[in-house]
Structure formats: structure tokens, C-alpha cells
């Protein structure tokens, strides 16, 4: 294989400064599995008796334990099936769980790979200097925890507790948030805001007073018309949505997909609108124009529930399909006929709000336009549109009141991003390096369950922050890139080996879901609740962790809502009957959660904050000759970077490829599956080569790659050096002025055919 020679290309100079990036493999031998590449494919070929499986199977005794999946944030409930000798054989869905209906997605089914991955973190690691070089040393938990607690106490004494920030995602977030609040800081940031659904939530809150949450409250199952603006359901494998889209197809619903790429969803759509990237707002405005001026909107609904129609009508008067044609490259009659399809099906029409909406920096305005379309069609609060969720609230386990921090991330805003209701990661990262002669306000990080290195763009900002940090603690399950920067690495066990908080989903019906360990934690790994509790006790915060085992908390909480741990261990998921209607009751006026109680077609809130009260199209730069817009998305069998080393899932898709239209490939003389390097507008070159996929599924002006590949941390034996990393290429970020989201699709790449590092390397 020709790639192997690129794989050995040396990685140099991550940080020339104080905190060197350490490859965890530099550790003492024996702690990490050896051998790389293809040979490792055969790992885990558990020579279980296949014959048994064939001839009755009943002989293989399995015990099942309830869990909910942590491979993405949809949190499907399922069962981990354990063999008598303590191996997790398979994970299947829980049929009582409305979030998955007994079917996990490929990543959830392949979740066993997270547990089996031989590259997992195994013991706590401490950064030490040995022979003048920074390296990691294995440490006992006591040693590592004492070290962290001492450091954090010092930080508190020296700079105040607010100098610590927490970056988190997924289940470990809760315990560490609790710890950090008890410690006295309010600086918590998750990539799910600024890099993901923040813009959408703010846009919908500005319009309807509330967001569509997660799992999204879109009634796809019963819809008659589903409009996807970039949302690539089917590749975006959020389980419930995929299942419901399939039901919608069975029901003959009209699907309209707007995407510069023929996404899987687009291929199942009646209409595919291959829009020029970055011009969606023009299309949305033209649709609004058609709905209003062709008299197609839901007049009754709008009259009863919305305000600002007159302003909107005047606003869109010139935004005709003909106007939009020049911008989007979509034919006017296509724009008109799709608008008519939406209106015909209304109110059972969904203009999908999307989820990852950090695109072009005007993302709140784009999602506002989407929200307005939904309002005009009357879909919010109607069957087949967007329903009202109902959940169940579990009381917090009793604990003392949190101290009040002297300042929080909100004080870092300086009047920027007025509608940010969660901390944008980049804001906290920026505040972690000195600026304008001022000391950095944030001096230490705890990072749990997020691989900031491949998650948050703007790596210069990131590197600057790392240089000035006093302390960086990483809680992770895998030796992801972020662990290479840590002072202390605390290895968490996987979701299959631990208890976690009760899942309390608000959706069509309230449910409770339990995750319990199916097997004991491997090696020295520990659950995050235990880590938080241990640190809390060492920091003198024992009162906040007033239990011995987390099962006490869970049992107490479950008993408050009429269940118990014992019951949940048996059933895994408990459904609770709904008390409110999921739709607007005919004849009863609905009060929206906006200031005026009405849908805001014209946003007073935005106007007051100095922004356009109604969405406007702004033109974004376009690629120069020889460059192509870099767009990215998901592959159904991977989740970001967290599955990039999962043996089961790597076997399905070992690397990403760059999608190139054959016409473009013709100009470059590309052959199928040829490896090339990517270079962006700022001269940034991809670390590894990536395969060219010649495909008609994409426009001429764009290229596409799946996010989550191109790992450069060698201890990730399967992931290392495979494919290209989109985050690396995202050096131009368009920050949404309304909420601080990081628009990441304004980057342009060109190709390099020969190894750009060959000459300089030798």
C-alpha cells in the first residue's frame, strides 16, 4: 500500500513552548498494544464458537444489562449482552425506547468497539520531565488526584476559582460541572453550542421563544412534506430522525433537500436543490416571498399566532425567485413549485431547523428564516410539523448551595454576542491567553469528553491559550489529540462499564432511561462521577458528594419519580404517560414563550440588540480560480473523531475521501482513489493525503469530506494518518455576531498532487 510511506511521515513541532505535545506512546513499553495498520484489523476476532451460533445459538448464554448509548448524543437506550466469560458480545436497542424503537444505529451497534479498543487509556498519566524531555509517566489514581486537587487549590488561592474553565461534552459533563460549580467557577463551555446547534437554538428562540431541543421535536413520522436545508439525515445518523424519515418515505411524504451535494437524503427526495453553498438565505427569503405574495401561507395560523407579518411582507417584496436565481443558481420555477409543495402539505410541513448550523457566521439569521417559514406554514404546534415536547424532571440530589462566582463567561462578552445563552468555546479559549497587555483571565482547564483539537477551529488561538495555561486536565477514554497537551490525563471507563445519570428525555412522551455497567472497567479506568467525587473530597467539597456510590443518587432520584433503581435495572426504559397535548388545541389560543407571547416574524429582541430584525442575504466570498469550497458532514458509521479508532467501525470505513466532481477531476487529471493533499486559502496543508472520490454527487465549486478523520496522534493505531482532517483546513472562521457561533464553511481548498513535505523532510 502506497499510503504506508506517508503514514511514517514524522510529525513535528506541535508546541515549541512550555507544554510539548506528548505522544502517549512515549510511555513505558507494554502499556499500549503494538502493531499498526492492516494487521490490526483482525483484532478481536474472538474465536467464539460459530457453530453454536449456527445450530441453535441457545447454547451461548448471554446476560443483558440496560444502557443508553454514548456514541453520539441521541442517547438511544439498549442492552449490552454479556457472555458468561465476561465479554460484551453485542449491543441491541431497547424496544420500549421511543428514541430508538429497539434499533440502534451502526455506531451504537458497533459501540462494543469502544470497550474493546486496545488503544484505550489505561491508567492516569502525569506530565513529567525526564532527561530534559517532557513525557508522561503512569501514576496511581491517588497520586494523580492529589496532584490535581493540590493544583486546583493553588489556582483558587492564587487567581480565584473563576480562573478554571471546564470544556465538556456528553455524560461526564454533568459531574464535572457539579464539581466546578461547587469549586466556584461558572465557566463551562461545550462545543455543542458555538460549533453546533447554538445558532439554530438562538434563531428559534428569537422566533418561537423556544428551541427544538435534542432529540429534535420535529414530527417527521407524520409529516407530509419535509424540507431539509443541508440536514443530511441518513448520513447524520441521529437514530429517531432516520427512522422517521423512512416512515415518511413509506407514507409518500414529499421530501425537498437543499444541499450542494447529493446527500443520501437528497437522493430520496422528490426535489433536490443543488444550491450554491452559502446562499441559503436567498432561497429561504424567496420562499417566504412566494408564500406571502402567492398567497400560500397559513393565514389563519399567522393571524392567530404571529406578529410582524406586514413588516415581513414589505421586507421580502423584492426577494423574488428571479432574484434568488442569480444568487443560488436555482431556477425560479423550481423555487416556486417547491414553495407550493410546502404550502399544499401545510401545516404538516417541516422546514427542518438543522442541528449543526455553524456555517457562515450569519447562521442565526438563516435559522430565523427557517423558523419564519415554519411559522408561515403553521407547522409549529401541528401534527406533522413541530410538536410540543414533554419530559420528566428529576430532582437534584440534595447538596449545599453553590458558591457564587465573582464573574463568569458572560463577563467576557464585553457586549459581543448578546444572545449567547451558553458559553461559546472560542470565547473561553480566547480568554485563556493574555491580550492587550492583560493577564489571561482563565488559567486552567478541565476538558472532559471533547477532543477540542479536532472539534474547535482556530488552532492558532488554541495553541496560544495552551502556552499560557497553568493547568490542563483531560478526562477521556481514548488517547485523543487533546490528551497529548494535558498535564494530567484521567482515564474514564467507557459507557458500557459505568453508571451514569438517568436519561430524562423530553420528546413525544416522557421516558426514563438507565445506564448501568455491563462489565467491570478495564485496566485502571474509572467513571467520571467517581473522578468528580474524589476530586471534590480532596478539594474540601465533600458535602457536595454526599454518597458512597452513585447508585445511591440514582435510586433516590428514581424513587422521587415513582420508580427505583431495581426496577430500572430490570426494564432499562420507563415510559410515562403524557399530561399535555403535543399540538396546539384547536380553539385555544397558544401562548408562545416569547416576550409578547406571539411568534416573532419581526424580532424586537434582535432589533433591540442592534441586529437585522428580519433575515437579510449577505454575499459571502467565493473560491478563487483553482480553489473549491470545503464542505463537510457526517458518515453514518462514524461519530466525529470519537469512533475513528473503533475497530468495528474502522472496519466499515477506515478513512475519508475528498469528493470531487469528475469535471473538476478532469482538469486536475485525477484518477479514482488517487491520494492528494489539500491546501487551503491560508496555505495550510493537510497533514496526510486523502483519497479522491470522483463523484457526480457534488457541485463543481465545492469539495466534501467527512469530519473526524486525519488523526495525527500515533497511539491511535487505527485512526493515525487516515484521511484528511477538515478542522485543520478551517482557518477562516466567520463568527456569528449574535451568539458567537463559529461559521466554518468559508474555507477554500486546492489540491497538491505530490507529497509537499518530501523535500523539506529528508
Amino acid at each position: 500500500m502506497c499510503i504506508s510511506k506517508y503514514l511514517i511521515a514524522k510529525l513535528k513541532c506541535y508546541m515549541k513552548t512550555r507544554r510539548d505535545f506528548i505522544k502517549i506512546s512515549a510511555l513505558g513499553a507494554g502499556t499500549l498494544a503494538l502493531g499498526a495498520g492492516i494487521s490490526r484489523y483482525t483484532f478481536g476476532s474472538t474465536v467464539l464458537d460459530d457453530l453454536l451460533a449456527m445450530t441453535g445459538g441457545g447454547k451461548e448464554k448471554l446476560h443483558r444489562y440496560p444502557t443508553y448509548c454514548e456514541v453520539c448524543f441521541w442517547k438511544c437506550a439498549g442492552w449490552a449482552h454479556v457472555t458468561e466469560d465476561g465479554n460484551i458480545k453485542k449491543i441491541t436497542g431497547n424496544y420500549d425506547d421511543p428514541q430508538c424503537n429497539g434499533k440502534l444505529c451502526p455506531r451504537g451497534t458497533g459501540g462494543v468497539g469502544m470497550y474493546n479498543d486496545p488503544d484505550r487509556l489505561k491508567t492516569p498519566l502525569l506530565r513529567v520531565i525526564k532527561d530534559g524531555k517532557q513525557t508522561y509517566r503512569e501514576a496511581s489514581w491517588d497520586e494523580a488526584l492529589d496532584f490535581v486537587a493540590t493544583k486546583m487549590s493553588d489556582m483558587k488561592a492564587k487567581y480565584g476559582p473563576e480562573s478554571m474553565a471546564l470544556f465538556m461534552h456528553g455524560s461526564p459533563a454533568n459531574y464535572l460541572t457539579h464539581l466546578m460549580k461547587a469549586y466556584g467557577t461558572g465557566n463551562m463551555a461545550a462545543p455543542s453550542f458555538a460549533q453546533c446547534r447554538g445558532a439554530r437554538d438562538v434563531g428559534f428562540e428569537a422566533t418561537f421563544g423556544e428551541s427544538v431541543s435534542s432529540p429534535e421535536v420535529t414530527d417527521i413520522r407524520d409529516t407530509r412534506c419535509l424540507v431539509l436545508i443541508g440536514s443530511h439525515i441518513g448520513e447524520n445518523m441521529h437514530n429517531g430522525q432516520v427512522q422517521e424519515m423512512s416512515q415518511a418515505i413509506d407514507n409518500g411524504a414529499v421530501i425537498i433537500t437543499v444541499d450542494p451535494r447529493l446527500s443520501t437524503a437528497a437522493s430520496k427526495s422528490k426535489y433536490w436543490l443543488p444550491i450554491k453553498p452559502s446562499t441559503d438565505i436567498a432561497l429561504l427569503l424567496a420562499w417566504i416571498h412566494v408564500l406571502i405574495y402567492d398567497d400560500l401561507y397559513n393565514k389563519e395560523y399567522v393571524a392567530a399566532n404571529a406578529e410582524g407579518l406586514e413588516e415581513l411582507k414589505a421586507h421580502v417584496v423584492s426577494f423574488t425567485p428571479e432574484w434568488a436565481y442569480g444568487i443560488t443558481t436555482l431556477k425560479p420555477d423550481l423555487i416556486r413549485s417547491t414553495a407550493r409543495e410546502m404550502a399544499n402539505a401545510a401545516p404538516s410541513t417541516i422546514i427542518h431547523p438543522g442541528r449543526h448550523t455553524a456555517w457562515y457566521g450569519d447562521d442565526v439569521q438563516r435559522t430565523r428564516a427557517i423558523a419564519i417559514l415554519n411559522a408561515l406554514l403553521g407547522s409549529w404546534g401541528n401534527r406533522g410539523g413541530i410538536f410540543f415536547k414533554e419530559g420528566i424532571k428529576i430532582p437534584e440530589f440534595p447538596h449545599p448551595e453553590y458558591p457564587k462566582p465573582a464573574w463568569t463567561w458572560k463577563d467576557l462578552l464585553n457586549g459581543n454576542y448578546p444572545l449567547a445563552n451558553e458559553a461559546p468555546t472560542n470565547l473561553v479559549i480566547e480568554a485563556s491567553s493574555p491580550a492587550g497587555g492583560q493577564e489571561a483571565k482563565i488559567k486552567g482547564w478541565v476538558v472532559a469528553g471533547t477532543n477540542l483539537v479536532s472539534t474547535v477551529p482556530l488552532k492558532e488561538q488554541f495553541k496560544k491559550a495552551l502556552q499560557s495555561l497553568d493547568l490542563l486536565i483531560v478526562v477521556d477514554t481514548m488517547p485523543m489529540e487533546i490528551t497529548g497537551y494535558a498535564d494530567v490525563v484521567l482515564p474514564e471507563c467507557t459507557y458500557l462499564e459505568r453508571y451514569d445519570d438517568i436519561r430524562t428525555t423530553a420528546h413525544r412522551e416522557p421516558t426514563l432511561g438507565l445506564r448501568m455497567p455491563a462489565v467491570d472497567p478495564k485496566n485502571q479506568t474509572k467513571p467520571a462521577w467517581w473522578i468528580a467525587k474524589q476530586l471534590g473530597e480532596r478539594l474540601g467539597l465533600a458535602a457536595f458528594f454526599n454518597y458512597k456510590e452513585y447508585t445511591e443518587v440514582l435510586d433516590w432520584q428514581l424513587k422521587q419519580v415513582g420508580s427505583s433503581l431495581a426496577e430500572m435495572q430490570r426494564i432499562g426504559v420507563k415510559k410515562i404517560a403524557r399530561k399535555t397535548s403535543p399540538y396546539i388545541e384547536p380553539g385555544t389560543p397558544h401562548i408562545f414563550k416569547t416576550a409578547s407571547g406571539k411568534i416573532q416574524l419581526f424580532s424586537h429582541e434582535l432589533a433591540a440588540a442592534g441586529f437585522d430584525p428580519m433575515p437579510l442575504f449577505t454575499k459571502h466570498p467565493e473560491p478563487e480560480e483553482g480553489f473549491y469550497r470545503l464542505i463537510y458532514g457526517r458518515a453514518p458509521m462514524h461519530t466525529f473523531s470519537r469512533t475513528a479508532n473503533n475497530p468495528n467501525l474502522v472496519a466499515l470505513m477506515p478513512e475519508n475521501s475528498v469528493w470531487v466532481n469528475p469535471q473538476v477531476a478532469g482538469i486536475w487529471g485525477f484518477k479514482k482513489d488517487q491520494y492528494v493533499w489539500l491546501k487551503n486559502q491560508d496555505g495550510e496543508i493537510s497533514k496526510f493525503p486523502v483519497k479522491v472520490r470522483l463523484t457526480e454527487r457534488i457541485r463543481w465549486d465545492s469539495v466534501y469530506i467527512v469530519h473526524g478523520f486525519g488523526h495525527h496522534h500515533k497511539p491511535l493505531h487505527l485512526a493515525y494518518g487516515r484521511g484528511a482532517n477538515d478542522t485543520e483546513m478551517i482557518t477562516n472562521v466567520m463568527i456569528d455576531p449574535i451568539m458567537g457561533g463559529t461559521g466554518m464553511r468559508g474555507n477554500f481548498i486546492t489540491f497538491i498532487k505530490d507529497d509537499p513535505r518530501k523535500e523539506t523532510e529528508s
Binding site: Y41, T42, F43, G44, S45, T46, V47, D49, D50, L51, A53, M54, T55, G56, G57, G58, K89, K90, I91, T92, G93, G102, K103, L104, C105, P106, T109, G110, V112, G234, M237, N239, V242, Q243, S246, Q247, I249, D250, L262, T264, S267, K268, W272, P274, P636, M637, P647, N648, L649, A651, L652, M653, N661, Q663, T695, E696, R697, I698, R699, W700
Partner: protein
């Protein structure tokens, strides 16, 4: 009884859940597979179409793999399921060469392995692992001789095709188009 599968290409999203589920259910070693997903893209931008298909052994009615097997390891079970008895198989590879669908592979332990239609589950009244996991519910499994079965129903109401019928094997996996 004649077991068969119908797979709706209009709903399949190519997620490969069927592949992983088969792997964990049947202990297929990582790096091998009994089922796989293919994608055919046709046309020129912007008039492009995609067909996604989850493929596996077709449990052919007229199966060359059974015919060519020198030891009788490849054989028919009730319901037309084609199976390989591992400890009768000598690993000669004839069946691999004989299958126009390339549905068989050589297991690292030496014998030839392939889809069993999850006979161990089917006998217990469950659906095959791949069918039961499919998030889009695009796979139908059942008895073609039972006029009330779901599979007969969808085949009656939808247009379908089989793969490489010209190979003459009478495949029993149908693709709804």
C-alpha cells in the same frame, strides 16, 4: 417454506448497520463480512441518482455453491437456507468460485463462511440480526409460501428486481425499486 428477503432501496440509507449487526451477532471476525452495502451512482450532475443495496448470500434456489461442493458441506436447510457445515468443509474454494455474488469468504479458521439467514434466530421466531437492527426498517424477511407474510405483501405491491438473474441461480433476495 421458502425464506427470502426483500430490501427497499428507496429507504436504505447505506448506513451499514446491517453489516455491524451481523458481525457482532455472528462473531464474524473484524475484517471479514457476511453482508455488505453497495452504492451505485448514475447520471451526471445535477441529474444524479443513487441506489443503495445491502447485499449478502441470495440463498439461491438453483445454487451452484451447493452443487459444486465436493463434501456436501454446503447444503440446503429447511426453507431453502443455504448453509455450510464448518467441520465438513475442506476449504477447497470451489463454492467461492461458483458464487456469482461473491457472497462467501474464507474464514481465517479455514472453512468457508457466509450468511446463514441467521437460522439460529429464525428458528426461535426472531428476525435475522441485520433485519432487526435496520434503522430504516427497509428489510423484510419471511416465508414466500405464506401468503399473509409481510414479504409476500410488499413483493405483491412493489416493483422489484434481483441481482444478476442472468447467472441462472434463482436468487431469493429481492430489491424493491
Amino acid at each position: 417454506m421458502r425464506y427470502a428477503m426483500a430490501i427497499d432501496t428507496r429507504k436504505c440509507v447505506g448506513c451499514s448497520d446491517c453489516v455491524v449487526a451481523c458481525q457482532t451477532e455472528n462473531n464474524v471476525p473484524i475484517g471479514f463480512c457476511r453482508d455488505w452495502v453497495s452504492e451505485t451512482v448514475d447520471g451526471t450532475y445535477p441529474n444524479v441518482s443513487i441506489e443503495l443495496r445491502s447485499e449478502r448470500c441470495n440463498h439461491c434456489d438453483n445454487s451452484p455453491c451447493v452443487r459444486c461442493c465436493p463434501t456436501g458441506a454446503s447444503h440446503f436447510e429447511d426453507g431453502g437456507i443455504v448453509l455450510v457445515t464448518h467441520n465438513k468443509c475442506i476449504g477447497c474454494g470451489a463454492c467461492i468460485e461458483s458464487c456469482p455474488y461473491e457472497a462467501r469468504y474464507s474464514h481465517p479458521d479455514g472453512y468457508v463462511d457466509k450468511c446463514t439467514f441467521c437460522i439460529h434466530r429464525v428458528r426461535k421466531g426472531e428476525k435475522p440480526a441485520c433485519v432487526s437492527v435496520c434503522p430504516t426498517s427497509c428489510m423484510y424477511f419471511g416465508d414466500l409460501e405464506d401468503p399473509n407474510s409481510e414479504i409476500v405483501n410488499v413483493l405483491k405491491n412493489r416493483k422489484f428486481k434481483a441481482l444478476a438473474p442472468e447467472a441462472g441461480t434463482k436468487p431469493q433476495i429481492f430489491y424493491l425499486v
